[in-house]
């Protein structure tokens, strides 16, 4: 397996989807079956390649960057094609290839209007290149390029295949379709963050011996090369870039709109992977390169996370739209992830890592289910739904299971991230203000109760009770083969991670400890 030690395997995981997307554009539109099979095959191949990486990866030294390479890319500015994975990026990379396969399986038979599988599948594959690339990039410019590549496919996915409901938006004279408003809002918010992030990268470049290499910058950063106002400003812009993507309160407002408007698969990918790009950015770039600033900002991040948790839960309680509820629940769950990161302790960041994967799996599944239900019932209004268990027993059962996982039931994947994040916040890194963190912890704990509250209430409104009469003469289809084959793997994964959290910690723990001890000593 020499190919995998010199970075070719890793590059293949990144670029194979892109090449496949290009091939798809060359297949005539009429050959729909061929297009679908080809897309499925290429996503499977990508997943298999990433699975081989799992076996090639040396878990005994998970803190080292492995299986990568460094090739000169833009000489004049000393930006390189530098890639590699460690225990932090590996789980996310595999999650990304895995979710993409499921997204494509689901899309085989459940394409939103206007069908056109060619464009849709090609966009998913381009998106995958952007996501995988972000997780393996070890050069700031490369990271930036991949970070931005995901914008275009997602913009078009929301804008073309999204929700066509017309609504009034404050600030617009005329009524506007949800998809159009949401797609440009998503794009502008993220670009706003990343434009400033790029300025921050350039700042690091000029102070740091004109290198964009993340490992080199980490060396420089931990030896104290970045200090003073400069470092504060750089951390501020990096924070802006990543926090928009996470999204952290109060920069989250694009998320409910984008999620609600996006087609099912779009919401799944957005929730499962795209949000992780932001929190991954904190763990990979912002904290190790600027440890002192991270320490200074940690209380603020903790407070914002706590607000996010409470705000997200309260907003969920106020929702009548099923999909929007799940979107707001993401704000809350990512709040836990960020709270874990803010504690700057091994336990907190491990919690964030498992929380990211678990949120990807669970919320991904929730969006699959709600999307499918919206398609069956032609409504997402929870007031009209009800008795789902009787109408669609399979979907209903899965919804019940996933909601339990999402509220953090012990034994399922969601538990570890929330529980350990609170633990991390109870006892943050030495020198951090414990009052702030413990208050945030209490807020987070209240948040878990609220989370349980809105999810159970949602189940009560949607799943239980008697079906309303309007569905009695409708022919409602329960989950079919394609849907189940996209969902069951996620269910299995939820249970597996819940029972054996070591699946994730085995990879992340050493890497997280090494990163933190390098950044903060001890």
């Amino acid at each position: 397996m020499e190919l995998f030690t010199n970075g070719i395997g890793l590059s293949a995981v990144v670029f194979f989807p892109l090449i496949s997307a290009f091939v798809i554009t060359l297949i005539p539109k009429a050959q729909e079956q061929l297009i679908k099979r080809f897309a499925l095959a290429s996503s499977l191949i990508t997943f298999v390649l990433s699975a081989i990486l799992l076996f090639q990866f040396d878990f005994s030294s998970a803190e080292k960057l492995q299986l990568g390479n460094k090739i000169s890319w833009i000489k004049s500015i000393n930006a390189n094609y530098e890639i590699g994975i460690d225990g932090i990026s590996l789980p996310l990379l595999v999650l990304s290839t895995f979710i993409t396969v499921l997204a494509i399986i689901y899309s085989l038979e459940h394409l939103p209007e206007p069908k056109s599988p060619k464009g849709f599948l090609a966009l998913i594959l381009v998106l995958e290149t952007g996501m995988n690339g972000t997780f393996v990039a070890l050069d700031l410019i490369l990271f930036f390029v991949f970070f931005e590549i995901v914008l275009l496919p997602m913009y078009f996915m929301i804008g073309i295949w999204g929700d066509k409901t017309v609504r009034t938006v404050s600030g617009f004279k005329n009524q506007i379709e949800t998809r159009l408003y949401a797609s440009i809002k998503f794009f502008v918010f993220t670009l706003f963050g990343s434009a400033f992030m790029l300025l921050g990268f350039l700042g690091l470049y000029y102070r740091g011996n004109k290198t964009f290499s993340i490992p080199e910058l980490i060396e420089l950063g931990t030896s104290g090369a970045f200090t003073g106002t400069f470092a504060t400003l750089v951390f501020a812009v990096l924070f802006l870039g990543f926090a928009v993507k996470v999204p952290m309160w109060p920069l989250h407002t694009w998320l409910p709109d984008a999620h609600t408007a996006a087609p099912t698969v779009g919401s799944v990918l957005l929730a499962a992977i795209l949000l992780k790009l932001g929190s991954y950015g904190f763990v990979r770039i912002a904290i190790p390169i600027l440890p002192e600033q991270a320490k200074a900002w940690a209380p603020a991040i903790a407070i914002l996370s706590a607000i996010g948790i409470i705000y997200g839960s309260l907003a969920c309680l106020a929702q009548t739209d099923l999909k929007r509820l799940i979107a707001f629940s993401s704000v809350g769950h990512m709040g836990f992830v960020m709270l874990g990161i803010a504690s700057l302790t091994p336990i907190g960041i491990n919690a964030a890592m498992i929380g990211m994967v678990a949120h990807g799996v669970i919320t991904g599944l929730l969006f699959f289910l709600s999307g499918s239900m919206a398609h069956t019932y032609h409504t997402r209004d929870m007031g009209r739904l009800g008795g789902n268990m009787k109408l669609l027993p399979k979907t209903g059962a899965l919804l019940g299971f996933t909601a339990m996982a999402s509220l953090g039931l012990p034994g399922l994947a969601g538990f570890w991230g929330e529980f350990m994040a609170l633990l991390g916040a109870y006892n943050p890194l030495d020198g951090l203000n414990t009052t702030v963190f413990r208050t945030s912890m209490v807020a987070g704990a209240i948040g878990t109760v609220l989370t349980a509250g809105y999810l159970l209430w949602m189940l009560q409104r949607v799943n239980l009770g008697e079906p309303s009469d309007e569905w009695s003469d409708k022919d409602l289809h329960d989950a079919d083969f394609y849907e189940l084959s996209a969902w069951i793997p996620l269910v299995i994964l939820t249970v597996l991670i819940g029972v054996f959290p070591k699946l994730i910690f085995g990879a992340t723990n050493d890497a997280v400890i090494a990163m933190l001890s390098k950044a903060f000593g001890g």
Binding site: I74, E148, F156, G159, I184, F196, L202, Y206
Partner: protein, 467 residues
């Protein structure tokens, strides 16, 4: 012009072949290049800088011809004169990129812009075309006189025409940052400011762009602008380098205003040509930024590298954007792009091309525009100067604002409903236009994915600055 009417077809072919053929000596010069060659008592130079820019100008003109073929044949235009005038303008641009004295550069600038006065009024029956051409002509004459006045001050001071002599005289007489020289710099900047349409000298551009035949508009916004920038770069770095800290500050302010104003007005446009006109004003602000900041820091080499890289990438993606506008406005028969709903589904190829060009203009990776923006930000932040960083922040905000209107075109053509009037029309995408589309899209992609190809420009700008 001497051919009979029947054989007018050959004119286009001859012009196309001629421009291609003129690339040959450039390639040979590049291959055999050892050191800069001076001619006419140091007033004309052949260095790598000028060779690259000449290549750029020739390619742009070639693509403009390709854009023009069907357009010119579609109406009773004078073909011979059309190509003749464009080629004259090209000659002017070529002279500018090699010129090293006041007279040569003035003749170059004017030779490049005078034919455009005629060409922008080419649609004789069209009031807008006439109006635009008149505005352009009057302001063009004003700008020429401003440049001349600036030059006359320099000549009066030093009694020299050749740049290197003027610069060394100013230095030895310690006049480099005297008020007179600064006044002269301001006059030159104002004069050339009209050509490159920076605020506050931009007001003619939208009207003229809207009235002119579309290929001419494309040429104006790409080649004429590039010519102006090249002249400005040469003059500022070769003659006025000594007073950089003064004009630098003024240009920084102009650059910030140009980006912002162009963008904000572009947001309001529904005419695609006017949108591109304002967008190109805003882009000019970006091109100007590195030169401006290099005046303050004195690191001209980096400023030239960034500006020229931006110019080259901008030239091709902007030509592509004009191609898109040409295709869709012909198809929909409307100069309001909100009428273009869903047309991309009629021709996915044109739709994808349009998306690529406009998002590249917005600076989204991996399309070429991102690298252009990146080098500008790089040189702004590299100045380690608070003015430069402030301009960088202004630029970042503008990059986000610009996205809104660039994305709007893609939104309309992909996401809106197809208008019923457009349903049965057949989409015309002629072969010469396809060549333009494929060529520009390739450059847009390659420059975004392998920006390393621009690395040689760093070396080129060091040679330029060294002689």
């Amino acid at each position: 012009m001497i051919l009979p009417r029947k054989s007018k077809y050959y004119v286009a072919a001859f012009a196309l072949l001629g421009t291609l053929f003129s690339l040959a000596p450039l390639v040979i010069q590049w291959a055999n290049y050892t050191s800069p060659i001076y001619a006419f008592e140091n007033s004309f130079v052949v260095d790598k800088f000028s060779i690259i820019l000449k290549g750029l100008f020739i390619l742009i003109t070639y693509l403009t011809f390709l854009l023009s073929i069907n357009f010119i044949e579609s109406d009773k235009y004078y073909q011979g004169e059309y190509y003749y005038l464009l080629l004259s303008s090209l000659l002017g641009a070529l002279i500018v990129s090699s010129s090293r004295d006041l007279l040569t550069i003035f003749i170059g600038i004017e030779l490049a812009s005078t034919p455009m006065f005629l060409l922008s009024g080419w649609k004789k029956g069209d009031r807008k075309s006439n109006e635009g051409a008149i505005k352009f002509f009057l302001l063009g004459v004003l700008s020429a006189s401003l440049i001349l006045y600036g030059f006359s001050l320099l000549y009066g001071l030093s009694g020299e025409l050749v740049f290197s002599n003027i610069a060394s005289y100013l230095l030895s007489a310690s006049l480099a940052s005297s008020p007179v020289v600064l006044l002269s710099a301001m006059l030159v900047i104002s004069g050339i400011g009209f050509k490159i349409s920076i605020v506050p000298f931009h007001s003619w551009a939208p009207d003229t762009y809207e009235g002119a035949p579309l290929p001419i508009t494309a040429y104006l916004s790409v080649s004429s602008k590039a010519t102006g920038f090249v002249a400005l770069i040469i003059l500022l770095t070769k003659v006025f380098a000594g007073s950089g800290s003064s004009w630098g500050v003024i240009l920084v302010i102009i650059s910030g205003l140009t980006m912002t104003l162009g963008n904000l007005v572009a947001l309001q446009q529904n005419n695609p040509i006017r949108l591109l006109a304002y967008s190109s004003i805003s882009q000019a602000g970006f091109i100007l930024a590195p030169i401006a900041i290099s005046g303050i820091t004195g690191d001209y080499q980096d400023g030239i590298f960034a500006s020229v890289t931006y110019l080259i990438i901008y030239a091709f993606m902007n030509l592509g954007a004009f191609l898109s506008v040409h295709l869709f406005s012909n198809y929909a028969g409307s100069s309001d792009f909100y009428e273009w709903g869903g047309v991309a589904r009629k021709s996915p190829l044109a739709g994808v091309l349009t998306t690529i060009f406009f998002f590249s203009l917005a600076g989204i990776p991996p399309l070429g525009g991102w690298f252009a923006k990146f080098v500008v930000f790089r040189s702004l932040l590299g100045s380690a100067n608070s003015i430069g960083i402030a301009l960088g922040v202004v630029g970042a905000i503008n990059a986000v604002i610009a996205l809104v209107y660039y994305a709007r075109i893609s939104k309309v053509i992909w996401m809106d409903e197809l208008k019923s009037v457009n349903e049965d029309k057949i989409f015309q995408f002629e072969n010469p236009l396809k060549v333009v589309g494929v060529f520009t899209v390739l450059i847009t992609f390659v420059s975004g994915i392998f920006p390393g190809i621009f690395s040689y420009l760093g070396e080129v700008s060091s040679i330029f600055f060294g002689n």
